[in-house]
């Protein structure tokens, strides 16, 4: 088996295990607390509005925004790591259909694996920092994934058209 396929399959299964471990940790130690915090802070802000207490209302809404921002990203990270892991595995299985040199295929596989790891990582880092770096990491990761997937699709099309013309 070629190095590129091996990299995609082993990398994909390892990323799936990592994504599931993260999801399990999140479900046990963070999710219920996060949902409670979101619900309680939103309810408190409206209750403060009923009491005509604008200061408490704003503080509670701000807590809601923070909690919701973190919750959305943590759930996204879990889903994207596992989804991308499955994509790595499935592409690894069918990578012999991509009609490029093994060197270029290894480059594509590396780019795909790197993108699949750092795209959700960038999203996760946004929960600790609101600066531009985490967002840049996420954008770079998604660009890697899209570009390498496009490259793989082109490789499949080239092979299919060359087979068609030979046939």
């Amino acid at each position: 088996m070629s190095g590129s396929r091996r990299l995609l399959i082993i990398g994909g299964v390892a990323l799936a295990v990592w994504g599931m471990s993260y999801g399990l940790w999140y479900a046990v130690f963070a999710e219920h607390q996060a949902l409670d915090s979101i619900g309680a802070s939103l309810a408190e802000s409206f209750a403060a509005a009923a009491d005509r207490s604008p200061a408490i209302m704003e503080t509670s809404l701000d807590r809601y925004r923070q909690a919701k921002y973190i919750y959305d990203r943590q759930v996204d990270v879990h889903g994207h790591w596992i989804g991308l892991a499955m994509l790595l595995i499935v592409l690894g299985i069918g990578f012999d259909r991509v009609s490029f040199s093994e060197r270029f295929k290894l480059f594509l596989a590396l780019g795909l694996l790197l993108g699949a790891v750092i795209f959700p990582l960038g999203v996760l880092l946004q929960t600790t920092s609101h600066g531009p770096l985490p967002r840049a990491i996420a954008i770079a990761g998604s660009a890697f994934v899209i570009a390498t997937l496009l490259g793989s699709a082109v490789g499949v099309v080239i092979r299919a058209s060359s087979r068609a013309s030979a046939g």
Binding site: A49, A50, I89, V90, S142, A160
Partner: protein, 384 residues
């Protein structure tokens, strides 16, 4: 390698090698994961369709109504009514969230099962151990979504913990089982690749039939479309929607505190539209990619689908058409409402029927394979 003719010449695709008979024997890891995986995907999709038709919209209406009631209660200064309505909102959201999680986890575990089924020849363990791994995986893959589904109904009854109930504990245990099984497969793959042994011949990976190529190319196109849509949504709308979410809730509560009914009502209306826009974009992105992955995976399993070639092509076409129509119709729901929603549900049914047809084809294949192995054994004088 000796070939065993499995069925008459009218079905030329059913020609199995001895290694294939072994790797796909009754209750082998590959067969368990393949049939169990498609069963999980089908169950998850049917559950999702039932949920979309009978629960999703009604639930969204209830959430909206209770949020509106909470805002109106804040407007008249009734704190207790606010908290009571938010309690209802929480219950409806939990109901919706657990149903969505059930649907998603069932389908994703089904996908993972299919992938592990393809990888089985490369997992360097004995057949018996691989079979055990497959059972552990399938047990966990069913336990987690069932546990998640029950969270809303079981709640914290008799739970020893403050925030996590028995249903959650069962779901988490299911997750641990899946994790252990996947980790075991990773170790098996690692051992195989370390030994540098020759890859076993596998007809699933060398098949280049028309229906297989259709599904593979269509699947990659769907995944790419899903990625591009996701990237566009993240760049153009995601942060804007997050900011709007906060600002509309702030308008609602500030309007209520100031006694401005019109502000509250406008904010409530805009908030409903915003939630709809977020939901359809995320659903279209996720479904396009997931159906693309499904198409690619089913491309590999086409040699196992014991149907006429023309029917295999038709079902591949139906699967791809449904997979493309569903996310497109979901996106159109914001403009065309229930008409587009109905078309999306129909597209979902197309995918379900195509997958069901392929599953039946694979079941037929397993029957023919088992029949052939029994015949072959009796001809060679081996005890059956």
């Amino acid at each position: 390698m000796k070939s065993v003719s499995v069925s008459p010449a009218s079905k030329p695709n059913l020609l199995a090698t001895e290694s294939e008979l072994a790797s796909f024997s009754p209750l082998s890891a590959r067969r368990l994961l393949l049939l169990g995986g498609i069963g999980l995907i089908l169950s998850g999709m049917i559950f999702g369709d039932i949920f979309a038709v009978f629960t999703l919209h009604q639930n969204a209406a209830q959430v909206g109504a209770n949020l509106a009631a909470a805002a109106q209660a804040a407007l008249v200064g009734d704190r207790h009514a606010v908290l009571a309505n938010f309690k209802n909102v929480g219950a409806f959201l939990e109901n919706r969230g657990t149903k969505v999680d059930t649907h998603v986890h069932m389908i994703d575990f089904g996908y993972l099962a299919l992938l592990l089924a393809i990888l089985q020849p490369w997992v360097a363990f004995t057949d018996k151990f691989k079979k055990r791994i497959a059972w552990v995986f399938l047990a966990g893959a069913w336990l987690l979504p069932i546990g998640v589904y029950l969270i809303h109904y079981v709640g914290l009854a008799y739970s020893p913990l403050k925030t996590i109930g028995w249903a959650s504990i069962a779901a988490d245990f299911g997750g641990v089982l899946v994790l252990i099984a996947t980790l075991a497969c990773l170790i098996g793959l690692w051992m195989h690749f370390r030994r540098e042994s020759v890859s076993p011949a596998d007809r699933l990976l060398t098949d280049r039939s028309t229906e297989g190529r259709m599904l593979f190319a269509g699947g990659i196109a769907l995944v790419l479309l899903g990625f591009l849509h996701g990237a566009y949504y993240a760049a153009a709308d995601l942060y804007k929607h997050e900011a709007q979410d906060y600002s509309l809730l702030a308008q609602m509560s500030a309007g209520a505190a100031a006694g401005a009914r019109i502000v509250v009502n406008n904010a409530l209306s805009d908030y409903g539209q915003l939630q709809g826009a977020k939901a359809v974009n995320i659903a279209a992105h996720a479904h396009s990619i997931e159906f693309g992955l499904l198409a690619i995976m089913m491309a590999f399993f086409q040699p196992y689908v014991s149907l006429r070639k023309s029917w295999k092509c038709r079902w591949a076409g139906v699967l791809l058409l449904g997979s493309l129509s569903l996310p497109v119709c979901i996106l159109l729901e914001m403009r065309y409402g229930l008409v587009a929603g109905g078309l999306a549900d129909f597209a979902g049914l197309m995918v379900i029927f195509a997958l069901l047809a392929m599953w039946i084809g694979i079941l037929r294949y397993t029957g023919e394979l088992d029949d052939a192995s029994v015949t072959s054994a009796s001809e060679s004088g081996l005890p059956q």
